[in-house]
Each structure stands twice: as structure tokens, then as C-alpha cells.
């Protein structure tokens, strides 16, 4: 009884320490992000007054009705040589807000100051961007808190593995930019192996269960990527509209392939670890369980998770295209053209991911069986 009590006290001390540290990090980062004006070279203005000066209805060439507004804004410069001075800005925005935005008091804007039009003490300038860092950081903190509260230790571990993976990916891309002669797909394949090993060992430790999942993930991803290569080769890429791929500074097909690899990795890992941990759990419950029974349960588990995990990928990829599809349709584009322009790459990603998921079910089953049999032979 005393032991339990003591360990409870210890646990809470540890937890109190952890939560204090996290709380402090939160407070410091929020104070920093709301006062980091001096770290930016571009002048930042905080909106202190807005006034609507004009509102008009417009109808575009496709008969879409919208409302345009013009807003006069007075802002206070927060950094640089003009710090403390007032600036006058003009903002045009529409009620739909596809590429514009109404500003409210308290918003912070990156501005460029027009020195030629200085009158009295009020500067004149134009808005170049919005300062959004405080929102990104705040939502990131909410994410961390929600994950810690509901996920406890597992939540902490998954936050850690996400952070490590993001840093690694950034390093891998730096490496590629410095050595463009190495294929991006190769770099991503190597980092894929590292991601898999790190994510799976962080979540379930060094044991046979994890080794089986790592091998299954790597095989599943590799084979599904080969299928994607062959399919694109055989069809010579018909139906894939690479034009839609934005932000291209590099050969598009390679970037797309590398993205395919990374994108399906998480889902394939999910399947592999589910298969191996549930089969190992069955083996540990009953050491004499037959290979046939394990196979049957493995296939059953696979059938259950197959549909839901493919739909995770499917919705995550497709949903991002909704706004641009609506923009195309409202500009009188034909439905077929709109869909093939905006969905072909995303659908192909989701399908390749789905192929990886389904393939990993038998692959995971057999690699886990191999490890179970090895363990059984040893004991």
C-alpha cells in the first residue's frame, strides 16, 4: 500500500514538474511571439483604427455577385526606424475574401512605407502581408495541450516523434539542395527508413514487435512505390496533370514521387504496427496458438482496418482541393477539366497510399509470423 502511495506521489511530482516546464515554455513563447517585432526587418504596423470608406456591389464576367469594400486603416509602427509613428493604409477587400481580407483593430500587418509621401507625422504605406505567427504558435500549443491531456505519455511520445521527423525532413531537404546531383527520391527513401525506425521505436520500444513493423513498413512502401513507377511508366503518365503542381523549382516528376513516398509512409506504418502488435498480443496471451489461427486473426484485423485507414488518406488529400475546384467551377470551367486539373495528382497519391496500405496487411502478417516463430523456437 505504501509503495503504491509513494509511487503515486513520485508520479505527481514528475507530472507537476513536466507541466510547470511546459507551462513556462508556453508562457515564454507566447510573450515572445507577441513582442517579436524587432526580429523582423520589414516594418510591422498594428491596426489601431479602421474606417469603412466605400462599399460597392460588383458582378464579374460569369455573373457571380460579390461586394467590394475599401477600408482606411491607421496603424502604429512597432519596429525599425519609424517605431511609434502612425501610418495610414488603404485596404481593399471583398466579402468572399479569396485573396483579400478585412482588417480589425489589433491585427498586425507587414507594411512597406512610402517615404516620398510623408505628411506631418503620419506615414503613408501599403500592406504587404499579415503577421500570422502568433496564430500558428497558439494553435500549435493547443494541439500540444490537447494531445498531452488526452494522450498522456503516448501523446508526449507522438509529439516528440513528430518534432524529430520534421527536423530530419528539413535536414534532408537541405542536403538535397546542397547536393542536387543526388536523386531526391533516394534522399527521401533514406530518410523514410530513418523516419520509420524513429517513429516506431519511440512509440513501441526496441522489441520484436517493432522490428516486424519496421520491416513490413519498408517492404510495403517500397513495393507500392514500385507499382506507382510501373503504372506511370506503362501509361506514360496519361491523366496526371503536373501543371497543377504549384511551387515548382525542381523537376516535377521526381518531387511528386518523393512526395508519394513520404505521404504514404505514415499510413503504412499505422497498418504495420497494428498488425504486429495485435498478433504479438495474441501470441503472448496463448503461447501455443497455431500459425493457422494467427493467420486467420491477422486477415480479420486487416479487413477491419483497411477501409478506415485508406479513407484517412483519401479525405486528407482530396479535401485541400475543394476551394480551388469551387473557384474553377464558378469561373465557368467545365467539370471534367476542373476535376482532372485539380484532383488527378491528389487522387493518384491517395490510391498509391491505399495500395501501400492493403499490401502491408499480408506483408505485415507474414513478417510478424516469422518473428513469432523465431521467438517460439528460442523459448
Amino acid at each position: 500500500m505504501n509503495v503504491i502511495k509513494n509511487s503515486l506521489v513520485k508520479m505527481t511530482y514528475k507530472q507537476i514538474l513536466l507541466f510547470t516546464v511546459i507551462g513556462l515554455c508556453f508562457a515564454i513563447s507566447m510573450i515572445f511571439i507577441n513582442n517579436n517585432y524587432s526580429f523582423y526587418e520589414q516594418p510591422i504596423a498594428k491596426v489601431i483604427q479602421t474606417e469603412l470608406v466605400e462599399a460597392s456591389d460588383i458582378t464579374d464576367m460569369n455573373n457571380n455577385k460579390d461586394r467590394l469594400f475599401i477600408q482606411q486603416i491607421i496603424g502604429e509602427i512597432k519596429n525599425g526606424e519609424y517605431e511609434g509613428q502612425l501610418i495610414q493604409l488603404t485596404n481593399k477587400y471583398s466579402s468572399s475574401g479569396a485573396y483579400d481580407q478585412q482588417f480589425r483593430v489589433g491585427n498586425e500587418l507587414f507594411v512597406s512605407i512610402d517615404p516620398s509621401k510623408e505628411e506631418d507625422s503620419t506615414l503613408i504605406g501599403s500592406i504587404t502581408n499579415v503577421k500570422r505567427d502568433q496564430f500558428v504558435v497558439l494553435v500549435a500549443w493547443i494541439f500540444i495541450f490537447v494531445l498531452l491531456i488526452t494522450g498522456k505519455k503516448q501523446g508526449l511520445l507522438s509529439i516528440m516523434s513528430l518534432a524529430v521527423n520534421a527536423t530530419l525532413l528539413s535536414f534532408a531537404l537541405d542536403l538535397y539542395i546542397k547536393n542536387p546531383s543526388i536523386s531526391l527520391v533516394l534522399i527521401c527513401a533514406v530518410s523514410g527508413i530513418v523516419f520509420t525506425i524513429i517513429s516506431l521505436t519511440i512509440v513501441s520500444g526496441f522489441n520484436e514487435k517493432t522490428y516486424a513493423a519496421i520491416i513490413a513498413t519498408l517492404l510495403g512502401t517500397f513495393i507500392s512505390l514500385c507499382i506507382a513507377y510501373i503504372v506511370i511508366g506503362v501509361t506514360s503518365g496519361t491523366g496526371l496533370r503536373y501543371e497543377e503542381m504549384q511551387f515548382l523549382t525542381r523537376p516535377y516528376q521526381m518531387v511528386y514521387m518523393a512526395g508519394l513516398l513520404i505521404g504514404s509512409l505514415g499510413a503504412v506504418m499505422d497498418v504495420a504496427i497494428t498488425m504486429s502488435s495485435s498478433l504479438f498480443a495474441l501470441y503472448e496471451q496463448n503461447n501455443d496458438i497455431s500459425v493457422k489461427a494467427l493467420k486467420a486473426s491477422g486477415i480479420d484485423i486487416g479487413k477491419d482496418i483497411m477501409g478506415t485507414i485508406t479513407s484517412i488518406l483519401f479525405f486528407a488529400y482530396i479535401s485541400g482541393s475543394i476551394p480551388v475546384i469551387i473557384l474553377y467551377l464558378k469561373n465557368a470551367s467545365l467539370l471534367g477539366f476542373t476535376l482532372s486539373m485539380n484532383l488527378s495528382l491528389e487522387l493518384a497519391r491517395a490510391l498509391v497510399g491505399g495500395i501501400g496500405i492493403v499490401l502491408t496487411i499480408p506483408i505485415g502478417l507474414y513478417t510478424t509470423l516469422y518473428f513469432v516463430n523465431r521467438k517460439r523456437a528460442r523459448s
Binding site: Y40, D60, M61, N62, K65, S96, A98, N107, N129, V130, R132, D133, V136, F143, V146, T150, G151, Q154, G155, S158, S161, L162, L169, D174, V203, V231, V234, T235, G239, F247, L248, V255, A258, I262, G266, S277, K303, D304, I305, M306, G307, T308, S311, I312, L313, F315, A316, S319, G320, I322, I326, K330, N331, A348, R349, L351, G354, I355, V358, L359
Partner: protein, 256 residues
């Protein structure tokens, strides 16, 4: 032959071989869900209708297809359905607030050049559209949590029929924690994979860290993916609570 068609055929064959009848149903449900999304997009082009309401209705259809069509209507899928819908409605409140203040709707300056031929004044509220996009991107993961938790909590309940509501809730949560890690991982790799080109672009054009974080396109993606993760985490206690409530109520009814 078209890449998409060929890949779909391969996926269909694999699902059929590995998953049998259930595999075929899973494939058909993907197809039906695609139809629901297309129909929802079509409805959203009408400026009079609120995209968020359309999204909620679409989510009800999507969960019906993914839960009831693949697994039949039973106490597990009903519990999963209820927890999915409650999570989505709660998450929507959060997302509507975030999208209203973060100013991340619509298109970023990096994207706008290619859309130059189009009129951007189409009368559709892009802020609400963004809330719809975030919900749609996470519904797959929320359903995954809901159905996995319903299945394992039913299992726990059947193995130990006299378990108290509180213990059932706690063991449900501990099962859910494993799924939480896997699903956030899946979503984040989807994000990394989909935006590899964008990350390379930022690095090639020597964006500063401040430039990246404040750019509309990056912050929008980051906030969306974080909201999706929040949704998954939020669905754990909701699914655990609903299952514990429904299972214990069923037992009490039988005893009475």
C-alpha cells in the same frame, strides 16, 4: 490507359484479394464518399447556402457510408457514428473561431499567379470554405478512432461484463491513446508528402523562418493539420464516454 483508372483497378483487385467481400465494400465506400464530396462541392457553389451546414450534412452521409455500409448497423457502429458526429460538431466550433481570426482563407501569394485568369470575386465565403476543408480532411481519422474504440471497448465489455462505467471509460481511453499516435503520425506524413514541393520552394527561394511562418499558404496548412490533430485527440474522450455510457446503459436495461 489513364494512371488513375489503372491505379484504381489495382487497388480494387488488392482489396478484393486481401479483404474479400469486406474489401470490395471498402472500395465501393471510397467511391461513394468521393461522390458525396463532389455533390457537396456542387452545392457549395451556390452562394446562398452555408458551406459549413453542407459540410455537416456531407459528414453525416460519409460516416453512414463508411461505418454502416462496410460494417452493417450494430451497436458498435451506432456508437461510432454518434461519437463521430459529436466530435465533428464540437471541432467545428473551434475551427470556425480559428479560421475567423487567423486570416488564412483563400489563396496565398505563391498560388495567385496561376489563378490570374480567374475572377476571384465569386461571392463564396472562403473563410467558411476553409472550415469545411479542415473538417473534411480530418473526418477519416475521426471515424478511424471512433470505430476502433467502439470495437475494442465492446471487446473489453464482453470479456468483463460487470466492469464499472468509470473503468470502462479508462480502459477505452488507454486503447485510444495507441490509435492517437498512429493517426496523428499518418496525418502529418500526408502533410509532409503533399507539401514537399512547397518546402523545397521555400528553401530554394531562401525564405527566412519568419517569412515561411507568416506566409498564408504555410500557416494555413500548418493550422489545418494541427486542427485535424486536435480533432483526433478530442475524439478519444468523446468516443470513450459514449461507448461507456451506451454499454453500461444496455446492461442496466437488461438487468432491470
Amino acid at each position: 490507359m489513364n494512371v488513375i483508372v489503372l491505379l484504381s483497378i489495382i487497388l480494387f483487385l488488392l482489396m478484393m484479394i486481401v479483404g474479400g467481400k469486406k474489401g470490395v465494400r471498402s472500395f465501393i465506400s471510397l467511391f461513394l464518399n468521393f461522390g458525396v464530396i463532389m455533390f457537396a462541392i456542387f452545392l457549395m457553389t451556390n452562394p446562398q447556402w452555408n458551406p459549413i451546414i453542407i459540410t455537416i450534412i456531407a459528414c453525416v452521409f460519409i460516416s453512414c457510408i463508411s461505418l454502416f455500409f462496410i460494417n452493417d448497423v450494430n451497436s458498435k457502429t451506432i456508437a461510432a457514428f454518434i461519437s463521430t458526429i459529436i466530435t465533428i460538431v464540437l471541432l467545428l466550433f473551434f475551427i470556425v473561431i480559428v479560421t475567423k481570426y487567423a486570416m488564412i482563407q483563400g489563396f496565398g501569394e505563391e498560388e495567385i499567379n496561376e489563378l490570374g485568369v480567374f475572377s476571384l470575386f465569386i461571392g463564396i465565403d472562403f473563410t467558411k470554405l476553409l472550415a469545411s476543408v479542415i473538417i473534411m480532411s480530418t473526418i477519416g481519422a475521426i471515424m478511424d478512432v471512433a470505430i476502433s474504440m467502439a470495437a475494442s471497448m465492446h471487446e473489453i465489455f464482453n470479456n468483463n461484463p460487470s466492469i464499472s462505467r468509470r473503468d470502462l471509460f479508462a480502459s477505452g481511453l488507454s486503447v485510444g491513446r495507441d490509435i492517437l499516435g498512429a493517426d496523428t503520425n499518418t496525418l502529418f506524413f500526408v502533410f509532409f508528402g503533399g507539401y514537399l514541393a512547397l518546402l523545397l520552394w521555400f528553401k530554394d527561394l531562401h525564405y527566412s523562418i519568419g517569412g515561411i511562418i507568416n506566409s498564408k499558404i504555410f500557416s494555413a496548412e500548418m493550422i489545418s493539420i494541427l486542427c485535424a490533430g486536435i480533432g483526433v485527440a478530442l475524439s478519444l474522450p468523446i468516443a470513450a464516454g459514449i461507448n461507456a455510457y451506451l454499454l453500461v446503459r444496455k446492461r442496466e436495461k437488461q438487468q432491470a
